[in-house]
Point group: C2
Chain length 644, copies 2
């Protein structure tokens, strides 16, 4: 018996040929980690993301039932690596697609956008290319009896020949190792020099010329989604990107609930551990995919809402949720990334963009930086729609900002077939003449669900097609586009095909989406009302958020998310948090500007505003109780049931 049922099993991964042994009963995901095979696992092994599909070619693996695999896949021997347990020696095949494509597709389109707007073109744009971290290749003459300059001063002199650094500092451990490094390298070495405010710190010194390998990770630490981009600071380009759900989601959808949970269960360490692990997983994924050693990543820059940044750094976030609603810090000095548990070069630095306050975080400051809202002519508006909706209204001399709770519906959470913007997500939906819908997925992959932009398009299309009325209710239970599903009536976006379930939108989904857009719209309305601004005087509206790579402005206006303005005044800017943070890591001047902006933005407390709830209630219609505010929508809906 023990012979047939060994305590440890061998697992061979194809096509890499990597092998390992694991205890019988371990998951294939564990085996993969041990073997050094990277499998995408967005949900962290909870069996809910369906990303870690793997094919079992030989041997036996127990896999529990799942709806994430089609019957065809199951027949082919495909299992979820995080769920399937090793029962015997195995030979498994890792599909090429999911080790590579996921990230690559997102990057290509994303990098494209940021090359137009911020990121790598920082040098041609508003700010000079002047990165926070430089790798300087130094060829020094070795000391001799005619030139007895100390190693440390010799290093400084060589650095200053290439880089204007009036104030310098050296890590003590580096100073201790310096003679050995320089002598071994025959005084041909590379210094990693990182700015801490006005001081340039020699973070590390490496033998030879490693200046070509200077990477930074740019992270948007969102409540629902965590996104990381890898930037090559040597060539000023974005190399790769990856995203994952924030694994704190187990403890609550929004950050207020998570702070409460952490406080009740003394779980601040656990909260930090989760988000730091998410960031580390993203970094490791990208580094492995690109074949880059962690030592080559000398900096991380983070933007995010204030609570997330507090969790990440284990700063006390408790008074963010209770009076007087203050953070521990809005401005956070650069620290060693290792101090926060983030694994890059062990002496590398972690930068955080500055926040305005408890409810307007560094992600919003990054967005204002990326869109250069402070330099826009006339009135302009910046809207970032994530789990919260933050709004910045800028005049030529002032900037006022506010936050509303949007909920994570547009990030694909709390919606039955919602998903984040990843391959297979339906990102665009249009009504065909036959009344049915046409759709397009990210990466042209088979559809797996709907991301934010797709959901918004659906909502607009359903309204225009009369499937729902302006309150969001299904108008006619007998409508052939509807069907009775397990959660009541549902609208079919993608019919069942092969062995796959149909992709649908339920009545509850519609209500969630309307609530989300209403929160944002009400915030815009109160901010404009308070500043005496009329919607049609807005010269520019910038919309940022995790909708995906694309947002249909007409749909956003149709459902009443955005004010009814000519389409050319509305600009979708994608993940502006990443965009602004990327500008800051690439330009000291951009970081300095971000600090100035954070100081100039005035926070406006919506929640205590007497009219906010009214405005929210009125916005709980499509597009709004008062359709006269949306003349273009009224026109489009004329003749439909909704228009009446």
């Amino acid at each position: 018996m023990p012979h047939d049922n060994p305590a440890t099993c061998r697992v061979l991964f194809q096509p890499s040929g990597l092998k390992t042994e694991v205890p019988r009963g371990a998951t294939i995901l564990e085996a993969a980690r041990r073997a050094g095979v990277y499998l995408t696992s967005i949900c962290g092994g909870d069996g809910v993301c369906g990303k870690c599909k793997i094919m079992v070619n030989e041997g036996e693996a127990d896999a529990p039932p799942t709806t994430l695999l089609s019957q065809k896949e199951i027949r082919e021997g495909i299992v979820l690596a995080c769920q399937a347990r090793v029962r015997s020696d195995l030979v498994v095949t890792v599909p090429r697609s999911h080790t590579l494509d996921t990230g690559r597709i997102l990057v290509d389109s994303d990098a494209h956008r940021f090359s137009e707007m911020a990121g790598e073109d920082v040098g041609q744009g508003a700010f000079p290319f002047d990165p926070l971290v430089r790798k300087l290749h130094l060829t020094m003459s070795p000391p001799n009896e005619q030139d007895q300059l100390a190693d440390h001063e010799r290093l400084y002199l060589a650095i200053r020949k290439q880089y204007d650094a009036p104030h310098m500092q050296t890590g003590f451990r580096i100073l201790q190792q310096l003679p050995a490094i320089l002598q071994e390298a025959k005084y041909d070495a590379t210094a990693i020099v990182a700015q801490r405010g006005d001081v340039a710190e020699v973070v590390d010194v490496e033998p030879g010329d490693t200046s070509g390998c200077n990477h930074a990770v740019v992270v948007d630490v969102g409540t629902t989604t965590v996104v990381a981009h890898l930037v090559d600071l040597a060539s000023a380009t974005t190399v790769d990107a990856e995203a994952t759900y924030n694994s704190q989601m187990h403890f609550g959808d929004d950050y207020i609930r998570r702070i409460m949970y952490a406080e009740e269960h003394d779980a601040f360490d656990e909260m930090q551990h989760r988000i730091v692990s998410d960031v580390n997983d993203l970094i490791q994924t990208i580094a492995m995919r690109q074949g880059i050693e962690l030592g080559c990543i000398a900096s991380v820059i983070c933007a995010g809402n204030t609570a997330m940044i507090h969790f990440l750094l284990r700063l006390d976030p408790r008074r963010i949720r209770k009076s007087p609603y203050v953070p521990t810090a809005g401005w956070i000095p650069p620290i060693r990334a290792a101090e926060a548990g983030i694994r890059i070069n062990k002496r590398g630095l972690l930068y955080c963009l500055p926040a305005v306050g408890a409810y307007v975080g560094s992600d919003i400051v990054a967005g204002v930086l990326a869109t250069r809202l402070d330099e826009a002519e006339g009135l302009s508006l910046f809207i970032d729609i994530g789990t919260n909706g933050e709004i910045v209204l800028a005049g030529e001399e002032w900037m006022i900002c506010a936050s509303s709770s949007a909920g994570p519906a547009f990030e694909g959470s709390g919606v039955k077939h919602g998903m984040r913007a990843a391959p297979g997500a339906i990102e665009r939906v249009t009504a065909r003449e036959d009344g049915h819908l046409a759709w397009r997925t990210i990466g042209d992959e088979p559809p797996r669900g709907l991301c934010g932009s797709g959901l918004l398009d659906c909502l607009a299309a359903m309204l225009e097609a009369g499937v729902i009325d302006r309150t969001g209710r299904f108008t006619n239970p007998e409508d052939p586009r509807l069907r009775e599903g397990p959660d009541g009536l549902e609208f079919t976006v993608v019919p069942a095909r092969d062995d796959r379930e149909p992709i649908v939108i339920t009545q509850a989904d519609v209500a969630n989406l309307i609530r989300s857009k209403a929160g944002v719209h009400a915030a815009i309305e109160i901010l404009m009302q308070t500043t005496g601004t009329e919607a049609d005087t807005l010269a520019s509206v910038y919309v940022a958020g995790g909708f995906g790579n694309y947002l249909d402005v007409t749909s956003a206006v149709t459902v009443g998310l955005l004010p009814d303005l000519p389409a050319e005044r509305i600009h979708f800017v994608g993940n502006a948090s990443i965009g602004g943070a990327k500008m800051a890591i690439m330009s000291r001047q951009a970081l300095a500007k971000a600090e100035e902006l954070a100081g100039r933005m005035t926070y406006f407390d919506l929640m205590n505003h007497p009219d906010y709830m009214d405005a929210f209630t009125q916005a709980n219609f499509l597009p709004h109780t008062d359709i006269a505010r949306f003349p273009s929508v009224r026109e489009r809906l004329a003749g439909t049931d909704a228009g009446s």
Copy 2:
């Protein structure tokens, strides 16, 4: 038997009443440390300094023979605590004198000198009082819903109301603890703010007003002697001082031997441990004596020769002794004192003054700063005589410096009855009309030996009295002032009295002292020759060193240590290394000036100069082979045997 001979013994210390238990056989010094009773122990427990005298009132302690106690003391039950081993339960009495007086006497006179010259009067002198470390008492209004500034920014705002700090930084651990500290303290707190270059770092935040307690330790890390002063930065005064022999002396008298030893025995850690322990012992001694907690000491500033600073910080000193003779660092950034093992406030900083190079250390830069040599009119000379003799010659536009190996004779080492400048040291010797000598000791204590200034006076007096000739040889073995001692002929300075041995100078001592002064004089000569300077054009000569609190300029000229100049042009400035370091900790501008000076001082390599050995040989006379260079000495010696 075991009953009469217990494995552990109790020791009660009077008058404090502190008790402890130690294993039988432990020394009383160990028992004192365990009980928290501080006993002065300059030699670190080697039984050579005679400082740790203690009286055994009850019980039995084994003490080996020693010449450091008089028979009267032995009869009274006095033992050396470092040598006496506990054999039974003991009651011992700690004499009041040696826990208190030692330091106090040195301080009083020393503080006096520095209040005239540098240190506390830095504010009235060349530099404004602007200490590197400040404790700022901050009374902040707690946040409320109308004032939601983050704790960190609130702290910065409060600091900037009192202190001009455009660039600030906060330690990450402090940031994490900040909300708890501020809330507990009801926003009434004290920030310790330390300059790191242009950046003001918030080193710590303490509840309430602790601004009155802001101490710094100023350390001169010498090859033979380590001196520490405690400075109260709140009141800008020197509070106390203490000195000890460098316990690396076991590994060689000079730093070149110690580097060789460390290299051969891989003993760099041990070297660091020794010197760090010396510094920690000094700090602890002073802190206990003054009743100051280590947490109140937020900074340490060190000056010393380059090798000592390298040992202290565990920087590689190996190429200081071999070609190309370069240090690891001349300029050392501020680090956390704890990183080097120095025990003060656990987040406190360690500053080092900058050095010129391998052989001209930060002690010399400190001396140039203290004497403001760079601002002197005309030609001036700075001489620091320690284990090495360093010389700086300054014109109005230039400064050139050199180092010669003087040997530790003037610090009391390598001379039979030499000792460092401590209570009981004969610091001044004059010839009486009867041909015998009059002397004065530090603290007017019974004489225990001769410090540098006393030795110099003796040498001059012996020459003038014809006891020695100009080669240093005893002229007449029958001279009644000489006697045959265990080491050959010796000159009696203090005859035997009570049970004490006489204090004498041997023929070998004379030779050692002449070699020391010859090294220094030859260095001066070569430097002046190289720059085409005549001795009589020197407007000022500043002499620094561990001679004691006093130096007789005429004696120094008589033996040929200094050029023959009018006495009013020669200034004895004591421990200028401590003086300059004290200026730097009290004034950012002084530290900046030190950095500028270190950059401006040109190192001149004496050892490879073809004429140096000749000059040294010629200086191996009293005052010199060519007495014509010393007209005043020739005149004084006229009519004596030596003058012929």
